[in-house]
Amino acid sequence: MHQHSFDINIENLSKIEGHADLYIKVRKGEVLDAKLKIVENKRFYTQAIRGKMFNSVPQLVSRICGTCSVAHLSCCTEAVENALDFKPSDQTRALRHLNMYGLMIRDHALHLYIFVLPDIFGVQSVMELADKDEDLVRQAFIVKGAGNRLCKLVGGRAIHPIFSGVGGFLKLPEKNGIKKSIEELYSVRAFATELIDILLESDFNFTRKSNYVGIANENYNFMRGEIMSSEGTCIPERHYWDHLNRVVIPYSQATGFRFEGKEYTVGALARMNLNRHNMHPDTLHDVPEAVAKFPSDNIYSNNLAQAVEMLHSIDNAIEIMETWDFKQEPRPVIKPKASEGVGVIEAPRGTLYYLLSFMEDGRIRYGNLVIPTAQNQIQMEKDIKAFVPELLSRDMERHDIEHEIEKLIRAYDPCMSCASHFLKVRWEDG
């Protein structure tokens, strides 16, 4: 190995959600420092939600993150309803699942096709990829479009949906739209499978041990279940916070977390490692080779996991739309009271936790949120520290190392908009 000494300083990493800088210090072949700085400016939502009414707060927190707004909205709604002892109807639950499947399709497609595929094909953007393989890029936008249209159908808009609310949906998806969406989803299945094949062939590898944490349930849905870890923990959703340790990372705008005292990984890879057997039967039937790659400790498998989840979400969305005949339901009456509620769901990038406490009149006293990317932060940095020496041993030049590290970070699909969402818990009385 060369006794390299250099600094890597990348401002504003590309092809990720939000803003992050990377700083690595190598002296005589040794990594002295590696920092992933989330530089996204805070918007102080924890403070902003205080005093807001229970039925308006999901729309407000939707603005924490554009790309996964459906996840924030759904998780917050769950916390509100749990606090106020409201049980949504089966139809409302089905629509929420459908909205989440739509989110998974469009968000995973964005990440995989637009951010990751250029890395795999050794080009710097989707534009260059189109010069190389136009058909693939056409497929990319067709799949992404199908996810986008499904989200619009259920939520009224793909980003910051307007139909979804506390208690239920204000408007139901149109019959004609459902018919079209089913056809469209059937037609993109083959493309999703092709993407899985491409990712299966990729030889990107960085294998390390981690504890994988996420919701597991009987049909691999993203809305409810028990929190499991690959080290054997199994806890009810509402106790999640008790198992987390908050870690202040002085140079980052985001807080880090440990699970039961140790760094851990959330997201598609964690979910597949924990719960792949419960995926949709059609998915399991069609891509057995991909599913058999799990459990995996290779962080790049996170992308394969996302692609399989995309297919699984397509299959589940089709099933929901084929089996349900959505009918207008009476608007429920929800009464405010002094209470506290927890919502936990699986967002595209991992476990999302909301705890909300309400005053008697239905206004929020305080809220506490745990964001997926913030939870991966410590593991991500640890990986970067371990990856650099491996790259040095392959005699790589600084520039290539830089690119490899970017690829590693991208494999996690971090979302900085979310992560910087600041969490300052103030357990005030009264």
Partner: protein, 178 residues
Amino acid sequence: MVLEAKGDGKKKLKVGVFSFTGDEGCVIVFTELLNEYFFRWRDLVEFKYARVIQQKNVVKDIDVAFVEGAISGFKEEKMLRKIRRNSKRVVAIGSCAIDGSPSNHRNFFDEQTTREIMPILRKFPYRKKVSPLHEIIRVDETVPGCPIVEESFLNILNKYLIEFGIVGRDSNEKGGKQ
């Protein structure tokens, strides 16, 4: 969808897509518009800066800069001025960029809450208040919405495609079909 031949060598509109304090929802809507317009724009638009879709980005010689988000930090303010200096037109996209909301919650915090967040504001450091673009630079156009209304974005892009002579004046199809 009608597809045109690749326009290598043809004059293209040089576009920048920038994101400041916000949730990137408007930029995500832009990435969703690509579902339909990618191949059309490939012939008409050159992305000088669009961190969300490419690795190589420069803030130089831009015809139209689309800017999302409000300005809450000093670094952002500096970058915004740089964008203005290097762009012929600047378009504020989304309500954060247009009037600061909903990314400007802290402007309205009471004294106690402001005190609570003060250590963070000082540490990184942040500007005293969150500002929309027009309080710092001249803005030529706006695309309203949270997130942006797709139609309005397409209309404005089309307007500039005509103004900069990329497509003919009789082109009235949105998103720049010739």
